[in-house]
């Protein structure tokens, strides 16, 4: 199918909206848009960060997911208590594949689930005593934990527990940071507010911990990598490029991050922001309080990596700039071989994305390096500033969808017929059953890393093995096949 014109895309949106009642139609129409690269401000074409309509299938998470699952969870040497009933922690445990090094249960706790397991009596009489007891038990059982964070689940806010006072008291008693985080799930419209609350907690309880302590020796080349969650080892694949350039990565969080790295972040010269959506708040704070500039970078695909490495080097002296060129040259043969191998197999394939955070815009470059085209993209929980950045990356007349509903997404796919969809686990099996190749782009479908030059090779391989998998030719039962299908069959067998 050829690329759609602006009118066709607009007509498609109208057609899909047709089934909704008037009120819902009016609301949803604001969240769907045809991309127009001439627009500077996304709020003129798309509305985002609004409450989802009751009755539609949204795949958003909650504030607890944003704080416990995304920002705090990967800090590996702290224990994060899911304070409240047992389910929230258990069903989100280890799902994001934030890799880390360390001995789980001894000095690192990333994949473990700690919960206060609220019962009826805790709701009736309050859970502060229980929290107090849990904090002491943790100290006894896991003395190497560097700190503890209390991640509130919904009931904590509803019954009005004072977790701050317990945290302050126990912090003194245990002589380690105890951070209360007010990330009750009902706050906000999506996980996005959870990121903000988590950032505020980091600001209030962690960032200032080493103010006035100058024992840490700094260099002019200190940087911090913030907002890389090390999914499948992403942060490691990014970090080596920065280190090869001659920069010193002082802190890396949250993926494979530690409490002391977070505390040392205000000592760096430049903050490198990977996931803008989830950590821009803390970067802004550090810029204001400590004068540390921050910049976003994109390590998906060789074109964007080279652009980002040069932009980062631009902030430093000539040696770093020369090193950046050396790093790009060093990997050139490697990534050219990847492109040469996979591009002929993937050329012209069309992709639709629907993810969260930064991926709906950052991955576009990597697909383009492989000759593929992104024809539709959208975010679960983005704000206007994310769409501002997306409009420039996406082609004209492509489809933008914010907080897309299950129904809308299926209808768009039926009409646009992309060759690949990149979205989450909740969409995966629907689209695979529809016969459309699918990659789970939240946790790289149990693969990864995808960042950096090393990650690009894996990314290209994964896309190839998904799109060109022979199973897609076996979607029709043998007795339903026409002669035309039979003619294609021997080719499939030899592929």
């Amino acid at each position: 199918m050829a690329a759609m014109t602006r009118e066709e895309t607009q007509a498609l949106i109208q057609e899909v909206l047709e089934v909704y009642p008037d009120k819902a139609k009016k609301d949803r129409a604001k969240h769907l848009a045809v991309n127009d690269q001439t627009i500077e401000q996304s709020k003129k074409c798309i509305t985002s960060n609004r409450k989802s309509q009751p009755g539609v299938m949204t795949i958003r998470g909650c504030a607890y997911a944003g704080s416990r699952g995304v920002v705090w969870g990967p800090i590996k040497d702290m224990i994060h208590i899911s304070h409240g009933p047992v389910g929230c922690g258990q069903y989100s445990r280890a799902g994001r594949r934030n890799y880390y090094v360390g001995m789980t249960g001894v000095n690192t706790f990333g994949t473990m689930n700690f919960t206060s397991d609220f019962q009826e009596k805790d709701i009736v009489f309050g859970g502060d005593k229980k929290l107090d007891k849990i904090l002491s038990e943790i100290e006894q059982l896991f003395p190497l934990a560097k700190g503890i964070s209390v991640q509130s689940e919904c009931p904590i806010g509803l019954i009005g527990d004072d977790i701050e006072s317990v945290a302050k008291k126990k912090s003194k008693e245990l002589d380690k940071p105890v951070v209360p985080v007010r990330c009750e799930g009902f706050r906000g419209v999506s996980q996005s507010l959870g990121h903000h609350i988590a950032n505020d907690a980091i600001r209030d309880w962690v960032i200032g911990n080493r103010d006035g302590d100058n024992s840490f020796e700094t260099t002019p080349y200190d940087v911090a990598v913030i907002g890389d969650y090390n999914i499948g080892g992403d942060a490691w694949a990014s970090r080596i490029l920065l280190e090869e350039m001659g920069l010193r990565v002082v802190a890396q969080w949250a993926g494979d991050g530690t409490l002391s790295e977070m505390e040392l972040t205000p000592k760096v010269k430049l903050n490198l922001i990977h996931c803008y959506r989830s950590v821009n708040y803390i970067s802004r704070h550090m810029e204001e309080k400590y004068g540390i500039p921050w910049m976003e970078y994109n390590f998906f695909g060789p074109t964007k990596i080279a652009e980002s490495l040069r932009a980062i080097a631009e902030r430093f002296d000539e040696t770093i700039q020369a090193n950046a060129e050396k790093v790009i040259a060093k990997y050139q043969a490697e990534y050219e071989a990847v492109v040469a191998k996979y591009r002929p197999r993937l050329e012209g394939k069309r992709v639709m994305l629907y993810v969260g955070g930064l991926r709906p815009r950052h991955i576009i470059g990597a697909y383009e390096d492989l000759g593929m085209e992104v024809v539709g993209t959208g975010y679960e929980f983005a704000h206007n500033d994310d769409y501002d950045r997306t409009i420039k990356e996406m082609g004209d007349s492509t489809l933008l969808y914010d907080d897309v509903t299950g129904y809308e997404f299926e209808e768009f796919v039926k009409r646009i017929k992309p060759d690949l969809i990149g979205s989450g686990i909740k969409e995966k099996y629907i689209f695979q059953k529809m016969g459309i190749p699918f990659r789970q782009m939240h946790s790289w479908d149990y693969s990864g890393p995808y960042h950096g030059y090393d990650g690009f090779a894996i990314f290209a391989r994964d896309m190839d093995m998904t799109i060109n998998n022979p199973c897609w030719k076996s979607m029709q039962a043998p007795w339903l096949k026409s002669d035309a299908d039979d003619a294609a069959a021997p080719m499939a067998a030899s592929a």
Binding site: Q41, K43, N49, R284, E287, E288, N384, D385
Partner: protein, 72 residues
Amino acid sequence: MPNVMIRKNDDGCLLFYVAKKDMEETIASVETDTADAWGGAVELTDGSRWYIEPISPPPSFPTTLRFKRAED
């Protein structure tokens, strides 16, 4: 009277960021922008107008200031 964080972007333009509203806009014009004061009526690129009593000496950016919505 929202708290507004003013910072410079890469092009040297001033950005007007309201954390509570998650709004970030470029400042189009500032009434008083001299060596010894900064403030007055501030107009953003989206057309909205805000007001702050001129601050003397001018603050160094980034910084957080309290703005008022300008009444027209």
